[in-house]
Symmetry: C2
Subunit: 340 residues, 2 copies
């Protein structure tokens, strides 16, 4: 294990925010990004942990990204909030928007957040989990760069287009899923490439349209949607929600605009928050949450089942005490950012 470095979660946050600030991010942006990176390391989501910091730094060096833009907000209706990230990264906007989105969903039962002009390379579960911890049901959708072939096609059009959903639970972390509408997250293929491993069949096709298990060939070709045409329909829905619905770009337009410079998608994110207590006549949230626990118990009484995100939540019980390890090469890169 000499090729790995041990870090406490505080150290993860410290090295992330220091590295980001050393490379030019404002204190507020560095803090918000470090929060999401630390949450990912805490939950052992390696591909969204410190592994991501070089992506943020390289994006900034490509000069289209703002290191310090303060998000601005505008009420489009009493229940629809628009947030403009002004070409900064999304985490700061998402942190600032959570309170206002919660307030609107409590008042109207349902509310939407339309984030535009945001660079986003993070997972979506932090933002839906944050709302579910406040007792809300939450959805998030975002597009990316053109990576994924449409149903029946061989060339990329869609992004990996994740969709996240969270449901509150009493006295424990929410039920959360955050899944790419591609067969795998792009980060998973990047990790396979880094580790010199082949990828499973069904994840990608090469530039020639033929199936491939080579991660580099798959990254150069097209990823495939999960579950055939049904996953492709989800990918298409996400494009529309994070693009035309809120007046931002589709994945293929983000790719054209980026022209290979940043390599991180700049576009929109659409969120819906629902107050469950406003969706029943008696407003009894406790009864709703108790009811949902019956479903979870019914699932878990079968051998071999687990709920989405259980693996993350189990990691979360260990890592605050035990810390995490990252590759020494990654640690060296981050130290170089800091020490110049």
């Amino acid at each position: 294990m000499n090729d790995r470095v041990h870090l406490t979660l505080d150290e993860v946050h410290g090295i992330a925010s220091e590295a980001l600030r050393a490379k030019g991010f404002s204190e507020r942006h560095a803090g918000a990004i470090a929060d999401t990176v630390t949450a990912a390391e805490r939950d052992e989501c390696t591909s969204h942990g410190l592994f991501r910091i070089p992506f943020y730094v390289k994006a900034l060096q490509a000069a289209n990204v703002s290191p310090d833009a303060e998000p601005t907000f505008r009420d489009l209706t009493p229940a629809v909030l628009q947030a403009d990230s002004h070409f900064g990264f999304a985490p700061l906007t998402l942190q600032l928007a959570a309170g206002p989105l919660e307030k609107r969903s409590r008042e109207f039962g349902i509310a939407a957040l339309c984030i535009v002009n945001a660079y986003n390379v993070a997972a979506l579960w932090p933002e839906v989990e944050r709302l579910a911890e406040r007792g809300l049901v939450a959805f998030a959708f975002t597009a990316a760069l053109q990576y994924v072939a449409p149903a029946g096609g061989t060339k990329p059009v869609y992004g990996t287009n994740p969709m996240a959903f969270a449901w509150p639970r009493a006295g424990r972390p929410p039920l959360v899923f955050d899944q790419a509408s591609s067969a795998s997250a792009r980060g998973e293929i990047q990790i396979h490439l880094r580790d010199g491993k082949s990828i499973p069949e069904g994840w990608a096709i090469g530039p020639d349209g033929e199936p491939t298990t080579d991660p580099a060939t798959g990254l150069a070709g097209a990823q495939l949607p999960f579950g055939g045409y049904k996953g492709a329909a989800i990918a298409l829905m996400v494009e529309l929600l994070a693009g035309a619905l809120i007046g931002d770009v589709f994945s293929f337009e983000a790719t054209e605009r980026d022209a290979g410079k940043v390599g991180a998608p700049c576009g929109g994110e659409f969120m819906i928050a629902i107050d469950p207590a406003r969706c029943v006549g008696d407003g009894n949230r406790d009864a709703q949450l108790a009811h949902s626990e019956k479903l979870f118990a019914k699932i878990l009484e079968q051998d071999g089942t687990r709920l989405p995100s259980d693996r993350r939540f189990r990691a979360r019980e260990r890592t605050p005490a035990e810390g995490v390890t990252i590759p020494k090469s990654l640690h060296d890169t981050l130290r170089e950012y800091i020490d110049g």
Copy 2:
């Protein structure tokens, strides 16, 4: 073709509503159900066409279903509308709710409809398509009876749990998908059983938990989610939205309550309607729809691609002039309902 009977769409509607009224449905319920059945025949969605009428009739004979309940409505918030079907079938409620849901989504940008105590054996695309024809973006979610195994499990817990989505298009039918979160719709397996055909691998497992291609064994065992754990996560989300969120039952509870009597699910349906023009600063819906057409063109420029529901819309161009054919045995059954 002597084993098939030719009908115009008017004749489809006539025989459907006559059969339903002869078996005790009120004029309004018979009309609303006949509308959805006729729309399905028009679009050559056989499994939701006249094939469904015996399901409605048998459900009514089992006596738990109301043949004439008038839906009632209640505003839970200015943007969340509750509809109680009072144990009637869903189509009448959905027809009556469309206008109020449209009004609320135009005012607040986003609005929700929570339908409770509804029997539902119809497709979901008619209700999302109806809203998209009015320029709205729409989602619908409903649970069913326990048919589908959770991820990692072998016994049914979830319903087939369809999720439908529609996006408006200028001067043509909306973009619509309506897909079960199971690998196949239950109706597709029923059609295979009726026609004496085996089902594809991956659709179902038998009561012993082993994969099967026999439709009867699959119907007795468990259907499988589409796309593995990701499709199962969608199924779980749909359970929560159509169940605990709106104060109605989960699929396994609908099954317990039914106790094999009706064989049609009674529960909730959750819909979200969004006015796209309220999700952009300039309110320019025409620009949003023109933008979405660029995405559709980008998809369709690849050989082998098509948009969801294209097959339905192509059928729709033919069937108003050409009519449809149904099996003579089905026609005989419907005539028996009418003639006693």
